[in-house]
């Protein structure tokens, strides 16, 4: 299982490609890519979003299901999804409500 992630061009915010093609600010709203076709479709959407200056440097990340929750496999991506481990008051982990990008 994968998701497509990037940083938003205008402010650097970490985003993932959402289920209906928008770029979302929480991993929970990301489109889970479970087939090669979905991956290809997402990558095409990423290239298009990059060309239209919404995001920069999109790439695929591996996800896994742990205790019923979707989590990134790599620790780096876990930190991107939450914020600095040393500053729980900053980053996505500090927000109560997150709107779609």
């Amino acid at each position: 299982m994968k998701a497509l992630t990037a940083n938003r061009l205008i402010d650097g915010e970490v985003v993932w490609l959402g289920r209906s093609g928008q770029w979302v600010e929480t991993l929970a709203s990301a489109w889970l890519l479970e087939t090669p076709e979905a991956v290809a479709e997402a990558e095409a959407a990423g290239a298009e979003a990059e060309a239209s200056r919404l995001i920069v440097e999109p790439y695929l990340i591996d996800l896994t299901r742990e205790e019923g929750e979707i989590r990134p496999v790599r620790f780096r991506e876990k930190i991107r999804a939450r914020g600095p481990t040393v500053r729980p008051d900053l980053g996505k982990q500090a927000r109560r409500e997150v709107s779609a990008a």
Binding site: D11, F75, V86, R87
Partner: protein, 552 residues
């Protein structure tokens, strides 16, 4: 300190306008990311894990109260209320929005600051001893020369696309606090028997994945030749440095692969061509720049010391602060104060906007309006009257900046690591925090004595782990953080690269391992005055290996 002349002011503001235009063109789609990335990097803008990062130059680590207040303003208005002081005496903001960065740079330009050449394959911000112009052991103030180098290297057309980045450090004291031997060019100002000023020149030092100690290429370079000789080194590097492999592109590799004698001959040949040309530094120009760094009027009086002594006698916390964070000054009755950005359990080098403002106020009120950033990620008030130390200390304690740990086990250097950095492979800050907490008691720190722990979250070594008495390198192994320990590194006048002691430790294990190393040292030192490095150099790594891995 140096003040911009008309040329500097115009140059920096033109650069802000240029970058504002570049950001607009990027956002409008006239520039692709591939085109824009080198432009933003030339202006100190990186894209990190969570956001953009803006690195602002603090030339040779010197700033005044107005500039520090402006940094606080940027932190509060455009960032998340804090900044991170770095091992290259700069400051980084971790959360700026790209669309705001031209405005931030414009506001910085108003106070004579910029982010030029804080990234990219160019000559980076020149660093210097943080006690420059103040230290009792100083032969001469290196800042005028650092400023001359800054002016020469700023947008130098020939050196804007070097094979790789290029770092210069200058010290004016025999005890090297600027780590000059681990820089591409390291300069140590000296005087010859006749009192003439010159430099011992080291070339090819560096950390990263291939740590090397700089090699001495000149025992005495006359000050008039500083720029011509630097230009000769850069020309040889620019011509022969490798561009096929970024990991072999620094000048240290060129020194290593070419051989010192051949490279020296190349440099000397180039130098002979240009030494009597336009780069010859006239004495009048050195003098003109030096006047910007004239010391303030020192006004100590009889009785000052008694005021300090009485306060120390009444306050054990102040006594500890005076013992660790006060450095001898060249002027009687004065001292340089280290403001520790390493409160127990906090992120090394971080300061809040409020703390920056407190430091600015103290510098203005007690410190002749001078502040320094040290490469050890602390702040310094270089010129304070000793009788004012109690008042300054009280204000620092109130701001959470009164930690009396300069040079002790909790005065740890750490890079941002995987909590922020896109290149990192493991976290650095929380390892530093846990070590700081483990050794946090003042008595234990004092008992251990001088000890430099330096932590990097990847092989690029921004946390200088190779030259830590105890170095810690975080790596990723099978998806987990692992920490390699090196012992015996040092970045002073007796620079050495630490040696890996053995297999690495997990995130959970590493603090225990460090404690074993420290306890082993305390157990085997001959006297409490024999510091960690001296003890390690005497006994070697065996006792530490046994403590960490057993004898089997």
């Amino acid at each position: 300190m140096y003040r911009y002349d008309e040329f500097d002011a115009h140059f920096v503001s033109a650069r802000v306008d240029q970058f504002r235009d570049q950001v607009q063109r990027r956002l409008a789609g006239d520039l692709t990311e591939e085109q824009f990335k080198p432009l933003r990097l030339m202006n100190g803008v990186y894209l990190q894990l969570h956001a953009y990062m803006l690195r602002i130059a603090i030339p040779y680590g010197t700033l005044n109260a107005v500039q520090m207040r402006r940094l606080a303003h940027v932190a509060r208005t455009y960032d998340r209320g804090y900044g991170h002081f770095t091992t290259r005496q700069n400051i980084q903001f971790n959360w700026p929005r790209l669309k705001d960065i031209p405005e931030i740079l414009s506001q910085l330009a108003e106070v004579e600051m910029h982010a030029i050449q804080t990234s990219g394959n160019c000559i980076r911000n020149v660093t210097a001893d943080h006690f420059s112009g103040a230290a009792a052991d100083e032969i001469l103030d290196p800042r005028p020369y650092a400023e001359i180098l800054r002016q020469w290297s700023s947008l130098h057309p020939e050196f804007s696309y070097l094979p790789r980045k290029f770092k210069i450090a200058v010290t004016g004291a025999p005890h090297d606090r600027a780590a000059v031997q681990v820089h591409d060019i390291g300069l140590q100002a000296v005087r010859d028997a006749d009192g003439n000023v010159g430099f011992r020149v080291f070339v090819g030092g560096g950390l990263g994945r291939t740590p090397m100690v700089g090699r001495l290429v000149r025992e005495f370079l006359p000050e008039a030749d500083l720029l011509a000789y630097s230009e000769a080194i850069l020309r040889v590097y620019n011509r022969y440095g490798r561009r096929d492999n970024k990991y072999k592109a620094r000048i240290k590799i060129l020194v290593h692969e070419t051989g010192l004698e051949e490279l020296k001959a190349d440099i000397e040949a180039e130098f002979a061509e240009i030494r009597d040309g336009v780069l010859k530094l006239p004495a009048s120009e050195i003098e003109r720049i030096t006047t910007y760094f004239d010391p303030p009027a020192f006004v100590a009086a009889d009785g000052d010391e008694a005021v300090l002594e009485a306060a120390i006698a009444a306050d054990p916390q102040l006594e500890a602060f005076a013992a660790r964070n006060v450095h001898p000054h060249r002027a009687p009755g004065y001292a340089s104060l280290t403001i520790s950005l390493k409160p127990i359990g906090k992120a090394p080098g971080d300061a809040t906007a409020e703390q920056m403002e407190v430091v600015a106020d103290l510098a203005e009120r007690y410190g002749h309006d001078e502040i320094r950033v040290s490469h050890e990620q602390n702040l310094v008030l270089p010129h304070v009257r000793r009788r004012d130390i109690p008042a300054i200390h009280a204000a620092l304690v109130e701001a959470g900046l009164g930690e009396a740990n300069a040079g002790l086990v909790t005065d740890i250097i750490a890079c941002p690591g995987l909590d922020y950095c896109a290149l990192a492979t493991a976290r650095s800050i929380p390892v530093a925090q846990r070590i700081s907490e483990r050794f946090g008691s003042p008595e234990r720190q004092r008992e251990i004595g001088d000890l430099k722990i330096k932590i990097s979250g990847c092989i690029n070594a921004c946390g200088h782990h190779h030259v830590g008495h105890i170095g810690i390198l975080g790596v990723e192994k099978k998806g987990e953080e692992y920490y390699q320990i090196t012992l015996g590194g040092s970045a002073d006048e007796n620079t050495s690269v630490g040696e890996i002691i053995g297999r690495g430790f997990s995130y959970d294990e590493v603090v225990d391992a460090i404690e074993k190393v420290v306890d082993t040292y305390v157990g085997l030192r001959e006297t409490p005055q024999e510091d960690f490095l001296a003890a390690y150099r005497r006994v070697g790594d065996q006792p530490f290996k046994e403590a960490l891995y057993g004898t089997a």
